[in-house]
Amino acid sequence: MSKIKENKMTYIGTIFMIVLILSGIVKGFMESLKRGGWNNYRNLFRGQEFYDSLFLSLKLGIITTVLVGLLSLLLIYFLYMISNKYPIKRVRILKNIIISPILFPYIVAAFCMGMLLMQSGILGRIAYRLGIISQMSEFPQLVNDKYGIGIVIGYLWKTIPFMILMLYPVLEKVKDKWYDLGNIYNATEKQFFFYVVFPMMKNAIMTGLFIVFAYSFSAFELPYFLGQTYPKTLSVYSYLRYAKGPFEERGEALAANFILTLIVIMIGTVACYFYNKLKQREG
């Protein structure tokens, strides 16, 4: 009985989300067809800037997701190893410190990264004062740079804590329930992590990484503040055209935005499909 009730509550939530988000997407799509119809899309596909922007967005999204995946796994492994030696309370404090960047909005992250990493930024000035470099312009270009290093660092700083937030509860739960079993089978700490903990985390890792990708692929703040003038990411390109461009071209700006949404939905569907297949094979 209580299960049905719980389900009902999630239905309400789901309907609410679908109505709000779906109506937003539909409205955005309709706006993208205003003043020009499909020509908005045709014009967009004709220009080189759209492809350059799309490529950059994809590149940054993929690099960020891969790095976040590797680094957050490393960190959670590190937390796991520590939790075998120290009392759980201390590990939790460490975890809380690690996830603290979640508190800051992205726009603050972008600003801080700029202050810290620009050539005349905090690190640059420290290096200059210490005599490591003789001129501030010798400091490596880490923001507004060719490779998007600043953007990726910004995303790592914000999204690794998010991954730890997702994964840490799994770690604790698994340890709680299965650790003794591991002992019975005489598993080493390493073996226990890779054969018990990691497989149980797969679900959370997949979901988390998809969210990280969807975000880093389509977010605006970091690439706006830390990106290069050309090419811009698709989100920045779309926003600037919408906000600063002429009214007649707003359809094109929203068309770019709609394509951004479509790609995220597509990747989500594909990820979901493969994930289910994987599950079936294992199950």
Partner: protein, 416 residues
């Protein structure tokens, strides 16, 4: 089951109440609206008494917000019993969009009563018929203190205002430099080129469509193609684009000597200011001649900061106040705008301690007493004298052209 019924009952009740509340509101409004074409100023002031007026304005500047919150809001409450609400926004074009959306659904009592606009936003609003009408003719202070023939009051980026907006303040483009590194600032665009080439990496400008960066590119256009006069007349897009070729050549020539070899540009004037404050670059740009004085005061810019304009002139534009067509409180909006144009409010606005925005009324028309205060304002050591600024003031080009420039800049300058 019982709970469900109670819940449905509550929802129905709430719906009914809100529905009836909506109805009574719209009836009330029809009764209260004055015919403003015939109303006297006194009637308008009486009608405004006790009303809430919402002013939508860019909220990104602390000094502007202070001027509004600490001075204007209490004054209009005190003088006219108007509850002025400052609605801070990041970009007035968002508000224009909102009003456009309100128009599409025929919402007759819109959320905004006063808009702070100019340039492209005014053009978009006017062309989409989002503004109420000729408001300046109703304002006593416009009648008494303004030079009604001055182009700075009637032209907004080459577009006739036709009274749809009332002048509030003025901005002028200046170069800001650090005397620690530069003793003789350039006087022409050629001298600027020489400076940039001698000091690679120490100059750049914000990437258009940033407002200040775009103004710098327009300055280059005026300077390299023979002045502003030709850009106040109607040119076709092709004519315009072929006319400004020399400006692109110039920007390409200086590009390799800019900050980061001109491969990337600061995305906003705020970033350029930050780089200037860090002494990563030696010059920054501003569309407010008093900006540097305020930045020195707050400790962000070095004391060695000064400003200059090029000999052949510096871009000047006026910013205005307007009333949307669907404003709920037009009378209140008129009274507030009239107050903002009064000598008292204008002089206070000019004081760098309070805002530092050039006044738009005609100094020769204000009382001797006010004139004295005006002349004795301390504008800060980095600011050029008002006479120099006025002498060098040149008008902006047509708003339409700005769009062409911004569109082409990416293609011509950063893409290759």
């Amino acid at each position: 089951m019982k709970k469900k019924k109670v819940l449905i009952g509550i929802i129905a009740l709430v719906a009914m109440i809100s529905f009836s509340a909506c109805q009574s509101k719209s009836v009330k409004e029809e009764v209260e609206r004055l015919d403003l074409s015939t109303a006297t100023w006194e009637e308008i002031e009486n009608q405004a008494n006790g009303k809430d007026v919402a002013m939508y304005m860019w909220g990104g500047s602390e000094v502007v917000n202070h001027y509004m919150d600490d001075y204007v809001l209490p004054e209009v409450k005190d003088k006219y019993n108007i509850n002025l609400k400052r609605i801070p926004i990041t970009d007035i074009s968002d508000t224009i969009n909102q009003i456009l959306a309100e128009k599409e659904i025929q919402k007759e009592n819109g959320s905004a009563d006063i808009l702070w606009i100019n340039g492209e936003n005014f053009k978009n609003a006017k062309e989409n018929k989002l503004l109420w009408g000729n408001i300046v003719d109703k304002l006593p202070n416009y009648e008494n203190y303004f030079d009604k023939t001055a182009s700075s009051n009637t032209l907004d980026f080459g577009l006739e205002t036709e009274g749809y907006e009332a002048p509030w303040g003025q901005a002028q483009f200046v170069f800001t430099y650090n005397t620690k590194y530069i003793t003789n600032p350039p006087k022409s665009i050629e001298e600027l080129e020489a400076f940039v080439k001698e000091n690679p990496g120490k100059f750049t400008y914000p990437a258009p469509p940033d407002f200040t960066g775009s103004a710098f590119v327009r300055t280059v256009i005026y300077e390299t193609t023979g002045g502003y006069e030709d850009y106040l007349i109607d040119l076709t897009r092709e004519e315009f684009e072929s006319k400004i070729e020399a400006a692109w050549d110039y920007l390409k020539r200086i590009k390799p000597y800019l900050w980061r070899e001109g491969i990337t540009y600061p995305e906003s004037s705020g970033k350029l200011d930050q780089m200037y404050a860090n002494e990563e670059v030696w010059m920054t740009l501003s569309y407010n001649p008093l900006h540097s004085a305020a930045m020195i005061k707050s400790g962000q810019f070095p004391d060695t900061t000064k400003t200059f304009v090029l000999d052949s002139g510096s871009l000047t534009n006026t910013h205005f106040l307007s009333i949307p067509y669907n404003s709920k409180e037009r009378e209140g909006a008129l009274v507030v705008i009239n107050f903002l144009m009064s000598p008292q409010a204008q002089i206070r606005k000019m004081d760098p301690n309070h805002w530092g925005d050039q006044m738009v009324l005609d100094p020769s028309k204000i009382s001797d007493e006010d004139h004295k205060i005006y002349e004795n304002l301390d504008l800060g050591q980095s600011t050029l004298s008002l006479d120099v600024l006025k002498e060098h003031s040149i008008p902006e080009m047509k708003g339409r052209y700005i769009q062409y420039v911004e569109n082409k800049w990416t293609d011509n300058i950063v893409k290759d």
